[in-house]
């Protein structure tokens, strides 16, 4: 426990320094570059943002929009996992499947998820389904590619051990492939979830109504910088929490035997 307090305090110190710098910039008009009154608009003081934050929380406006985005991310990411994980595993196990699918993955993976927005809105209308489609497209490839890498890196001699014990295909997957690829899959999920959030925010900013990205665009249209800053802070907090909740748990579960590496 003692070893954790020091890094935590250091982290807090960095945040405090950043807030201090922010207050200073706001007060001096971005270090004298402009009239402090205009600066107030471009970069409001931290306490002003804090008050607004509290107001937005109380009214439920912020939370309801976070919830909208969160739901989209979780459903879209869940679908991406359901498709990407088995697909990656099959691609790793069968050269034929790999030869068929890999070019497609290579082709689609560099296309940013937001590029799908116009098509998604056309196909699914302005709503959750469009957002979910975009998230799936945006987070699928890191999940597939990492699962595939994991399978390709399985210790081949474990296959020999299972084959001599006459394991069938499913047993090989269950006893060897799935446990071996956990570290790869976790990093694939990390990337995928990060992409999912980025994509959903972008999609909500350019057209899909409601959600955190929508709040951002409303903030921009009404020149309300506080709202923009609040949204950024909320996003950071949400990502950190999700990281802690989803991946810490998974990683702790595997650390028991992972020390062998």
């Amino acid at each position: 426990m003692k070893g954790k307090i020091k890094p935590f305090l250091q982290g807090c110190l960095a945040i405090a320094a950043l807030v201090g710098l922010w207050a200073l910039a706001s007060k001096t008009g971005i270090f004298g570059k402009m009239d402090p009154e205009d600066a107030e608009l471009l970069l409001p003081m931290p306490q002003v943002v804090c008050e607004e934050f509290w107001e937005l929380l109380k009214s439920g406006y912020l939370l309801s929009n976070i919830w909208v985005s969160m739901k989209r991310v979780l459903v879209g990411f869940g679908i991406a996992v359901l498709i990407g994980l088995p697909l990656g595993i099959f691609m790793g196990m069968s050269v034929t499947v790999r030869n068929f699918i890999y070019p497609l993955v290579r082709f689609f993976s560099p296309i940013p998820g937001v590029a799908w927005v116009p098509l998604a809105i056309l196909w699914f209308g302005l709503g959750d389904r469009a957002a979910i489609f975009i998230i799936v497209m945006g987070s699928l490839s890191p999940i597939i590619i990492n699962s595939l890498q994991g399978v390709l890196n399985v210790d081949r001699s474990l296959y020999d051990a299972l084959h001599m014990m006459e394991a069938n295909g499913w047993q090989v997957v269950y006893h060897c492939i799935v446990p071996s690829i956990v570290p790869y899959v976790i990093s694939g999920f990390r990337l995928g979830l990060g992409f999912a959030w980025r994509v959903v925010i972008a999609a909500e900013m350019v057209g899909v109504p409601k959600g955190l990205g929508y709040v951002l665009s409303v903030g921009r249209n009404t020149a309300n910088t506080s709202v923009t800053i609040i949204t950024i802070i909320s996003l950071g907090i949400i990502m950190m929490l999700m990281e802690e909740v989803l991946f810490r748990v998974l990683e702790n579960r595997t650390s028991k035997w992972k020390q062998w590496e």
Partner: protein, 257 residues
């Protein structure tokens, strides 16, 4: 079970895609419950031969017959103990040993009693819940041996199983292997580079030439067990095997010069 190795030939392709002949027309028989060792210069193809008998590799020509039936792939009648253990790092000792029986959909109580027997056999009591990374090399190899024995194989294939262990651990495990083989429940093929180990454990020793491997000679060890490493006859046999291996190595040198 008896093993009949018939005219096995095997070559690999190297990086330049040239064919490298590794095993050339090898034939021999191993009787039921016999203990046979393969010794020879390193890289001559002993592991390749063992992997062909295990069914992991296919020979280019020839066949391996077990009790007259040609093998088609790996099977639980022939279990391998690998030099680098090949345990499942995410499974406890108990689960590593139980794996083969669980795959075969055996009754839970039966699995429990068999695993308890195997753990007892290799002296791993108290380590059931440990993970492989927590064990020493000797203990890992005990797990691997127990994992094989628990399935009551008819043939045990061992590829330099004690090669990575210190000499005291190696001698203890050799003694334990003698004790296990004494029950006459399986046939054993052992690849080793340790001539003393070969003489200590085997009924017969096949000495291979450098690759492409051929059988240079067969040494029968006519000593009762448990054997004494200091027995003059033991030392004589060990020297004989050593001499034969060195000789094939010398031939290689002459060929090169």
């Amino acid at each position: 079970m008896a093993i009949n190795v018939r005219n096995i030939t095997k070559s690999f392709r190297n990086e330049e895609m040239e064919r490298l002949s590794i095993l050339r027309n090898i034939s021999f028989q191993i009787e039921n419950q016999e203990f046979v060792s393969f010794v020879g210069p390193s890289g001559c193809g002993k592991s390749t031969l063992l992997r062909i008998i295990a069914g992991f590799l296919k020979a280019d020509e020839g066949a391996v017959e077990i009790d007259g039936k040609e093998i088609e792939g790996p099977g639980k009648d022939r279990l391998m103990v690998f030099q680098d253990y090949v345990l499942f790092p995410w499974k406890s000792v108990w689960n590593n040993i139980a794996l083969g029986l669980k795959l075969g959909k055996n009754d839970k109580e039966y699995v429990k009693s068999r695993v308890a027997w195997a753990i007892d056999m290799v002296g791993l009591n108290g380590f059931e819940k440990s993970y492989p990374h927590q064990l020493s090399g000797g203990m890992k190899q005990r797990v691997a041996i127990a994992r094989a024995l628990v399935m009551e194989p008819k043939i045990l294939l061992m590829d330099e199983p004690f090669g990575a262990l210190d000499s005291f651990t190696r001698m203890r495990l050799q003694d334990e292997l003698v004790r296990m083989c004494d029950k006459k429940e399986f046939t054993t093929c052992l690849v080793t580079h340790d001539c003393e180990e070969a003489v200590y454990l085997s009924d017969r020793i096949l000495v291979f030439t450098d690759s492409p491997a051929q059988i240079r000679d067969v040494v029968c060890v006519d000593l009762p067990r448990p054997r004494k490493r200091t027995d003059p006859r033991f030392i004589q046999l060990k020297d004989e095997v050593q001499e034969l291996v060195m000789e094939t190595w010398k031939n290689e040198k002459e060929r090169l010069s």
